[in-house]
């Protein structure tokens, strides 16, 4: 309990210092919030393009797709607030040698590297996404049961953890490959594939988007559970998958550090 308390205290300090730093740039917060709303409307209009030619894509109605878009904004927003700022910095840590300094700190290296910074200028995105989820689910036929709502919450929580571990895995790859900050851009691009249900992609892509870059679990599954396309029990699979994926990411991080020290010595 003592250790947990210590980590929690440090986490609060991390968040506090980041927030204070970004409070110096208030305009950026307002502008980014407005921009988030712009991209939200943009996304709904893009979806409309399809529905001017058909009533459903692979069985997803317009209302259903709005729920999916909402989950996309929630997940992507949290990613940009909590995880991207840390992924953006890992290349710099390696290049400038800051990583050595971080490894010496009396905390777990994964904790310091992956949770040091938050970027609250994107904090409006998850809220906007929630609005879209509500709007979409009222348009979808058939009410939403309480069980589905609870299962949705579990699936969404798993999605956050998955995003965290995916980010950690990317950081590990950065340490291994000493690549520039391209990986963070890559994540921005790849998450775009979650704007549509993964069932529209071919079998090979679907497999990749389920297991390696698990957009299926991060976006499609929570949305499907909420609108009743998948049974509530699917959330159990989400939990099992997160546990496995998280373990792999943790092992990847440890082995990356082992290699890194090998380079240093």
């Amino acid at each position: 309990v003592g250790i947990l308390h210590r980590y929690l205290t440090v986490l609060i300090i991390f968040v506090g210092s980041s927030v204070r730093q970004s409070l110096e740039y208030r305009t950026a917060f307002y502008v980014n919030s407005a921009l988030g709303a712009f991209w939200l409307v943009w996304a709904t209009q893009v979806a409309r393009v399809y529905y001017s030619y058909a009533n459903s894509i692979n069985g997803w109605s317009y209302g259903n797709l709005l729920v999916l878009m909402g989950v996309y904004f929630i997940a992507n927003g949290f990613r940009q607030v909590l995880f991207s700022p840390n992924l953006q910095r890992i290349g710099e840590y390696v290049r400038t040698g800051t990583l050595d300094d971080l490894l010496l700190k009396p905390m777990d290296s994964q904790f310091v590297v992956s949770l040091r910074y938050v970027d609250i200028t994107h904090a409006a995105d998850p809220l906007l996404g929630t609005v879209l989820v509500i709007a979409g689910s009222t348009r979808s036929s058939g009410g939403i049961s309480g069980v589905a709502l609870v299962a949705f919450a579990i699936a969404l929580l798993s999605a956050f953890l998955l995003l965290y571990f995916l980010n950690l895995a990317m950081q590990a790859i950065c340490v291994l490959a000493v690549s520039p900050d391209g990986l963070s851009q890559l994540m921005n691009g790849l998450i775009d594939s979650g704007r549509l249900p993964v069932s529209v992609y071919g079998p090979v892509l679907q497999a990749i988007l389920t297991v390696i870059i698990p957009v299926a679990f991060i976006i499609t599954t929570p949305a499907s559970i909420l609108i009743g396309k998948m049974p509530a029990s699917t959330s159990a699979i989400c939990i099992a998958f997160v546990a496995t994926f998280g373990l792999c990411a943790r092992l990847l991080w440890i082995s990356a550090l082992r290699r890194y020290q090998g380079v240093g010595s």
Partner: protein, 266 residues
Amino acid sequence: VTRPLQVFGTLVRAYISVVLEHPAAAFLYILTSVFPLVMLAGWLALLRGGATIRGWQSSGFVTYYVAAMVVNQLSRTWVSDTWEEAIRSGTLSAQFLQPVNPVSHYLADHMAHKVVDSAVIAPLLIVAISISQDLRFTTDPLMLILGVLATILGSAMNFLMALCCAMVAFWSEQTGQLYQVWVGIGAFLSGWIIPISLLPKVMQDIARFLPFLYTLGFPAQVLSGQVRGTAAPGAFLIGASWTVAFYSIYRLLRRHGMRHFQAVGG
């Protein structure tokens, strides 16, 4: 006249070396804009079962979106972000002290990326064409040449368009976001989201006279053989006019912006 060109040539070569420092990154950058493929997947899902949409079959969509992805790769630019960053960090002040126009650094960087990207894309494209039966680019040599020219024009225009936006950074700190909105609105009219021939007629007519189409959709249509040769002269004329217009706007903004910038600098 040759001296500035020599300097510029050296700059481009230098920036190519910088890009090649991370060869793997050049490959990864292709994956940073998978959006056209996402749109494509949506259309293909709608077409499953052999339907057509306004005469478009799956091969038409595949060819168009792959062409759009390639053209985008060769015309996208970050100049509005990097210029703003250079102002914020003070790098730009130092660049103004050099006997070279600072913009030539950004243009050389843009061109260096395009040279490397072309070299990366070409083999990938050849493999893709030989594997996929749906990928049917134009085989007419004249149209191919026109397509390449249209892509170069589009790349130049896109750079100038972003450069105009970059100049706003002399007055505002939110240039990156301004450019995002500009690009976001343009996406509906440029063919980034949907081929413009699938837009309502009114939108098509508007798009034809705005710049966005010529940075992306038009070159993509030419390369995928979806435009008649007779339409090309008019399109090139409009595209070239916008390019000249953006250059003039850039000059104007820069002249006024410099005064403002020096005032800030003290």
